[in-house]
């Protein structure tokens, strides 16, 4: 059985091909202005990698912010459910999942089967989402993927960023830079601020081990390490934290296809 999961986020599109119990291929691209095009492109890419055709996919599930515009999907499922499902695949002992993408942040609790039991989400304010890191990276002219490492070079917590709003924080950072504060200290302050905001969200849902981080933020050690310290627990991160949602969608596809096939054989 081969299934496909497509996750269209605000900043990136992800696709995973799942065969039996393994990940056959995956791909990540930047989301363009057209979510449908992004879905098509990332699907073509992943099919090429696996050397398969769309017709070979027994079931296709879409998820994420742009999930409703994927015309070839058989079903769309919320990214909350997909992240829990995907996290459970990588870490069967997962009970609390933090998924932070560009435009939102979700704290999810799940049971031993990877089924969602509770969640809280912030999608209103960039200060608690990955976008805040993107804005700071752009502003400081530091590649996004390096900012975490760079922030860890600062001594201590860095400079405090007291503004909650990203837009106001940017003005605060300008004054720090004029005072001669180093980029690493500013980045440390920004990672610290984000980690604090995320801790608040996780506390609301309640943290139970094992703790998993998925989404782009898992690739930022500056935020991950600070969050681990605050929560006093280690975070589990899979080899490619951005594909967890797409993987969950593909696994849902497999379950749905099995159910459908069972029904078909019963009626025959």
């Amino acid at each position: 059985m081969i299934t496909l999961g497509v996750d269209i986020g605000s900043l990136t599109g992800k696709a995973v091909i799942f065969r039996d119990h393994e990940i056959l291929a995956w791909d990540i691209i930047l989301t363009g202005p057209d979510s449908m095009e992004t879905g098509k492109t990332v699907t073509e890419n992943v099919l090429n990698k696996a050397g398969l055709k769309l017709e070979d996919m027994e079931f296709i599930v879409s998820t994420g912010y742009g999930r409703i515009v994927i015309p070839f999907a058989h079903k769309n499922i919320s990214e909350i459910s997909c992240h829990a499902k995907g996290a459970h695949y990588f870490f069967p002992t997962a009970r609390t999942i933090l998924d932070m993408g560009g435009q939102d942040c979700k704290a999810i609790r799940c049971d031993e089967n990877g089924k969602v039991t509770d969640f809280v989400m912030n999608d209103k304010c960039a200060a608690g989402a990955g976008r805040s890191m993107g804005i700071m990276a752009d502003f400081l002219n530091v590649p996004l993927e390096q900012m975490g490492e760079l922030s860890l070079q600062a001594a201590g917590d860095g400079v405090p960023i007291s503004s909650m709003c990203v837009v106001f924080a940017r003005s605060e950072v300008i004054s720090y830079l004029r005072e001669g504060v180093s980029k690493s200290e500013v980045l440390a302050g920004a990672c610290e601020a984000l980690a604090s905001r995320v801790r608040g969200l996780l506390t609301r849902v309640g943290i139970q081990n094992d703790f998993i981080i998925s989404g782009g933020i898992a690739k930022n050690p500056g935020v991950v390490k600070r969050l681990e310290q605050k929560l006093n627990t280690a975070a589990n991160i899979c080899f490619e934290p951005q594909i967890v949602g797409a993987l969950g969608a593909a696994i849902f596809g497999k379950e749905l296809a099995e159910k459908r096939n069972k029904k078909r054989s019963e009626t025959q």
Partner: protein, 257 residues
């Protein structure tokens, strides 16, 4: 008695001279990140154009987010009080003020010529503030001062659903990509600001006797959207940006009595 009022805002610093109960002169300058220097320059500017020497000034009162950065001021006045006092000084029968500033928005309700009854303030989030408008003007490549008139020509409804400036920026960019007419997008931006302000107006419960001040009061598009929501006509004073500076000086004069 001659009094000086300074309003050190997030984006602009305003200075006024109150002389024998009348507003003598005023000036406006960018605050930048040297608030004290901007305030000093602004104050010297008004003194020079009024032909008054610093020693003739009985007191310098300061308000605005940067008020603590001005060591030479004799009195600090809260932004809530200065907005209310400024309106009371010029328009004694008013009962409320909506202050639309660069980094903060506030709504103050007071008794005509009397004390403050209630207020609401947003200074944590850029949504609904001048910074929101500035950010949108940049992504659209339209000058802030041109946005008001342009939005009045709008013929179709566009809604900017994101509250956050960072998210609204991407929303506006995708509207531009979709070739939505700019006048309609700009009106959508104004509606977003007005709806945030309206939330505060409702929480305070303003009467019909109120005025709009601050830099955004100069934007006719925002005023129109706010009027639509509040279902009343809104009055804007002649120089809406300097009202709080006047209010600071007026508050200082009352305290001195």
């Amino acid at each position: 008695m001659i009094l000086a009022g300074l309003d050190v805002g997030a984006l602009w610093t305003k200075a006024v001279i109150l002389k024998d109960g009348a507003v003598a002169v005023y000036s406006v300058a960018r605050t930048g990140d040297m608030a004290e220097e901007a305030a000093e320059q602004c104050l010297n500017g008004v003194l020079a154009s009024a032909g008054i020497s610093r020693s003739d000034v009985a007191a310098v009162a300061v308000t605005g987010v940067g008020k603590k950065l001005i060591p030479f001021a004799d009195k600090q006045v809260s932004e809530i009080v200065s907005a209310a006092k400024g309106i009371q000084y010029l328009y004694p029968d008013m009962e409320g003020v909506i202050d639309l500033g660069g980094e903060s928005t506030r709504v103050v309700k007071f008794e005509a010529g009397g004390g403050i009854v209630d207020y609401a303030q947003n200074d944590k989030c850029a949504a609904g503030t001048g910074m929101f408008l500035d950010a949108m003007s940049k992504v659209m490549g339209i000058k802030v001062e041109d946005m008001g008139a342009l939005s009045l020509q709008s013929t179709a409804e566009v809604n900017i659903t994101s509250m956050c400036v960072a998210f609204a920026e991407s929303e506006v960019v995708s509207q531009v990509h979709r070739q939505t007419p700019k006048k309609d997008i700009v009106r959508g931006i104004h509606k977003s600001i007005a709806s945030r302000v309206y939330g505060m107006v409702n929480s305070v419960g303003l009467s019909e006797k109120n005025m709009v001040i601050g830099g955004l009061a100069l934007n006719v598009g925002i005023i129109a959207c706010l009027e639509e929501l509040m279902k009343i006509k809104l009055a804007v004073p002649e120089n809406p940006r300097i009202i709080s500076a006047i209010g600071a000086a007026f508050a200082a004069s009352q305290q001195g009595e």
